[in-house]
């Protein structure tokens, strides 16, 4: 008899809960859609800037082109955008900013022969030496920077999954389970040096300003130990206030943080270096 009643207290509560769930879902999807639209808009804007930068470059307006490419990579860091930014900065005579942009491009896409050639060309022209890398750092440069992390992640979990899932899911024992697990662990172990190399390479950067003074202490009045040419590679060791302690192939000391650009930086820091470089060069 009671089942015939269309609406009860229990039914009201259930309907309310369903409505709340629906509301949460719709809010989540609205947010998702908003984020997607933002991402698309950012990508579109980046592509627009990229095209405008290319046009300005072809027209010979290199400074303007560099601005466009800087905005493009700030909207969405891309290997092509960074390569073109390096070209534009080089044409503007900003050696440090150009080498930094190319290094960043190679950080994202180490397969680009153009970027590699440009770096060799710039270092030859500016009489700079390529940074000295340890063997595991050289390994880390074989693939795009994030590829190693994903490879390690996938191989590890594939190995762990193949070890435990057959037992849990009661799959019949098969040799390929152990094969996949062993291969996964082997790949994971092989990625560890590359991950270490990526980690240490992420502390590398480029000196941006011409004849950047390398100081003994992190103060403006400190003794100048050496002058570092723009484009010189160095490793960041520590930071203090507005100064960073860097180690080049031949010297170590403090430089102003604005005169040194890290290759691996956040998106928000992209494009800031050039304005600093403009002041110095």
């Amino acid at each position: 008899m009671n089942c015939g009643l269309p609406i009860t207290d229990c039914g009201l509560k259930e309907a309310g809960a369903r409505m709340r769930a629906l509301h949460h879902f719709s809010r989540f999807f609205r947010m998702l859609a908003f984020v997607s639209i933002l991402c698309c808009a950012s990508g579109t804007r980046g592509e627009d800037m990229f095209q405008q930068g290319a046009k300005a470059y072809v027209a010979g307006a290199f400074a303007k082109s560099a601005d466009y490419f800087r905005q493009a990579v700030a909207a969405e860091p891309s290997a092509g955008g960074l390569q073109n930014l390096g070209n534009a900065e080089w044409q503007c005579g900003r050696t440090g900013a150009a080498i930094l942009a190319w290094e960043r491009s190679q950080w994202l896409d180490p397969f680009s022969a153009n970027t590699r050639g440009n770096l060799r060309y710039a270092r030859k022209a500016a009489q700079l030496e390529a940074p000295e890398l340890a063997w595991y750092e050289i390994c880390s440069a074989w693939l795009p920077v994030n590829a190693w992390a994903w490879l390690a992640c996938l191989s590890l979990w594939a190995a762990v999954g193949m070890m435990f899932l057959p037992g849990i899911l009661r799959w019949p024992r098969a040799d390929w389970h152990q094969g996949v697990a062993a291969a996964g662990f082997a790949i994971f172990l092989l990625t560890i040096p590359a991950l270490a190399g990526t980690h240490t390479r992420s502390r590398m950067g480029i000196v941006l300003a011409k004849d950047t003074p390398l100081r003994l202490t992190p103060t403006k009045e400190a003794q100048v130990l050496a002058k570092i040419p723009a484009g010189e590679s160095a490793r960041l060791e520590r930071e203090r206030g507005n100064y960073v302690f860097i180690r080049t192939s031949g010297a170590a000391g403090w430089v102003e943080s604005g005169q040194f650009g890290l290759i691996a930086c956040d998106r928000g820091e992209l494009g800031k270096e050039s304005s600093t470089t403009n002041k110095h060069e």
Partner: protein
Amino acid sequence: MMRKALSATLIGGIILSALTLTPDAVRAQAPPGGSTLIIQGANGPLRITSTGSIKVTPVNQQEQSQAPAQPASPDTPPDLFNSLISSAASIDMDSPVTARAEFDPPVVAAGGRAIFRIVLTALDESVKQPDQLPAPGGLTVTPGGRAQNYQPTGTGRLQPQTTLNYRVIPSTNGIYSMPSFTVLAYGKPVIVPEAQLVVVAPGTPGVKDAPHLIMDLPTNNVYVGEMLRIPVVLPDPGDGSVVGFYQTHIKGDAIFSEAASFGVRRDIVHDGGHDYAAFVQDVTITPMREGPQTLVAQANCNRIHSNQPGAFTSTLIDSDPQVLDVKSLPEDGRLAGFNGAVGALQVDTPQLSTNVIKAGDPLKMAVIVRGEGNLGHITPPQIPLQHDWQTFPPIADMTQPFVMQQRGFTVFEYTMIPLNERAAATPAIPFSCFDPKRGAYVDLTIPPMPVTVKPSESGWKTANANAAAAEDAMNQDGALALTGLAEGPGISAGSLRAAQQQWWFAGLQFVPAGLLVGLWSWDRRRRRLERHPEILRRKRARRGVKRESGLARKAAEERDASGFATGAANALREACAPGDAANPEALVCADVLSKLPDEERRGREGEVVRKIFAAADAARFGANGRNGVDVLELRRDWEQVMDLLKARL
């Protein structure tokens, strides 16, 4: 602590300075108003002093005897570092700091110019004076020059002396007294004594202003990086009291002043129709920043002591601050190869070491740049990359910039190796300068010079291994050129920071880990239930009892006897089902009774069960049911039976 730090800094600086001297020059000191250099002469050490005139005197025996005796072996040469340490000047920073204050001149006319001078026996860096002096009313006091020198003490040590100048202009006649005040030296207070200035009426005979310097700054456009030769003038009062001045330099925030200056000369200066005799010295400066730059000239003035005729005294004098407006170099029209050369420059025809050369042999090229400009600070332009040439970084002229400036030219040396016989001329080297007089950039590209390159006699690669390597390198670099633009953005990323260094990547690892842990937990529970199926049956029974009891109670409240009987019977079945591992619907009254203990089965509980099942059967199969009211009255007993059965679940 501060004194020790300063002493260490100073001694370190002196050691570094000494390292730049020749080994024979063993000591460099600065006496009052000049400098002393002790060198190893033919007849032993000689002291060269410079105080207006240069005198050469042998070092006195007393100082020699004070030098620490070094037990040196005749076979081993003396250690250079030890020599430097032992010869380093000892700076006296232990003696109590004394202060002296004076007005120069002590008598001045109203509206005239005087100098209030403070001399402290302390290092300049350690002196901290008040921002404003306690000057009496009627005196306009502004900060002036500041300098440091060293005075020898009787104990063979050098005592630092810091001089602070203040420009004073009295407005009215009278006697003004600058009261005593305190300055800090080495962090300790030092009392500057009182000093008096007598101000008389203008035109009073024998009253003169303090000597001061005048800078003759250029009135035309001045650009950043342009080397300027500024005449610094010290008017000669004409009474022979001023002998000359030295150590002249120009101070400014963004001014590079050359270390060496031109000599002092006596000259007639024309100033707006008024000619006067003066001492003139040219000082070379280079503005480093655009915009108005405030400059002050400063020098030590040699004067005849007023109280001791024939004795000289040296005092610090300065000029009034003057502003030089410096323009930045124009961006428009900048030519290739511009690397900071500013001036009216020209490039001579390059001189080659030879015109005929074999491939692989080095060729030297000297390029002379001459003219007026910053010759001493020009960086040689780089040779652009060439396919047929291996090039090396150019070598700049190592001559002192001051000498280079005097002689009017600088020389760049280039070394290059022709890699093959196709190299017909040296590469053109882009070079340009900015001419401040024309206000434009001038192309000074170093022209290509024709050469004849012959092939190597024994083959290029076998003749010179280094050159072969160079050729390989050049062949490899032959493709080196700036590439075109990338057609598309290509590989992109949210950030250039490596994924492994981002928090979300670490968080992402919890997803598969959590999934695996969840699957493992589920599997463990499943295996446990498989081993103990009664757990599931009892759980199901408890759920069924709850459901059917609820229906029965609801029917009882609605006085629905058949509904209550059905619900109660079902509840009894559900409660007894786990014991038989059977479907509850398959159980009958006897099955339920069998679950009751014998006593209860035969007692009231057994009767209640039978009645309920009978009523349920009657309700289910229709017709001859018992009175529903009787069944409803069994509710309490049924509850007791249910409690009994539930306790066993």
